[in-house]
Symmetry: C2
DNA sequence: CTCCGTGCAAAAGGTTTGCACTGGT
DNA sequence: ACCAGTGCAAACCTTTTGCACGGAG
């Protein structure tokens, strides 16, 4: 968290209550919350925060490098603070994305740059498949939207 | 394309002009168009098609397995018809996602299922980094909503 | 003939922006 | 004190839905 303060200073952006709160709310979670999820989870700690601020703060966090957008098939943008190399399980039925630790896949060597003019930085493997819930459900609960998923909230 | 017709029959869904057109428009492209991009690109060939239909058709195509949603950090859903194993370059500056062929990474063995109850099916590697355009631009042309990108716009 | 898909229009959801004020440095 | 960040409200973009009609099987 102190690292965060230093990053803010380094980037010349003020360290506000809201930024602190959003970062904490985000780093506590290991799912991949949407901006709105974060907004909701902050209602108790910081009720006066506004939704646009959450969006703005999340973008700041991504910009200074303490958070990241997760590649996600769903409609809403999702974020994470886990920056160490890790992989993802993507359910093709419900579009859920879960973290997946698998050290065996952590040591691939990055391709030589140049070819496409692309500067490689890191990678993560997306495994497509069917999650336990959907496999259990058998049928195809194709729903993707928030409406159909109950928000377990942790 | 005939394979597509058979898939439609197999899934018991009618083979309509719109479905044919959307699939063709999608498979012609190697970027990862949004539903709206497809809608736009169809204006010349099939001007009477409606936007909701494009969304519905794309979902059908995904359901019967001839197309796929691409995991993408951006806001709008993106699709592809390239179902063979391949990887992606994700630009952390502009959120662009490009296909990336690299046979050396095509032969990873899928993890044993079970562990998480996840049924593995396939995978693709997402390489994070900076694309040639953004590297060239030097600065940070971060978020670029459609507004800022040139559109054919009719 | 029956049923599903389509087109239209409107609603629902998600994200960004303009402006005046407050708070961080 | 200065400037950036915030809150509010409204705009904007994306995706879904209800309904009546028309075409595919």
């Amino acid at each position: 968290m102190t690292a965060f303060e230093q990053l803010c200073r380094a980037h010349g952006i003020p360290l506000t209550v809201q930024r602190r709160a959003v970062l904490e709310a985000l780093s506590v979670r290991d799912d991949h919350p949407t901006a709105d999820d974060i907004f909701a989870s902050l209602q108790s700690r910081l009720p006066e925060i506004s939704r646009p601020t959450v969006y703005r703060v999340l973008n700041s966090l991504v910009r200074i490098g303490v958070a990241r957008k997760v590649c996600h098939p769903g409609a809403a943008a999702r974020f994470e603070t886990k920056l160490e190399r890790h992989h993802h399980l993507v359910c093709v039925r419900c579009d859920k994305v879960m973290d997946f630790e698998h050290p065996a896949f952590d040591r691939l060597s990055l391709p030589d740059a140049g070819a496409h003019g692309f500067l490689f930085d890191d990678y993560s493997i997306h495994f497509r498949g069917v999650c336990a819930d959907c496999a259990k459900a058998g049928g195809r609960p194709r729903r993707t939207r928030k409406r159909a998923q109950q928000r377990s909230t942790t």
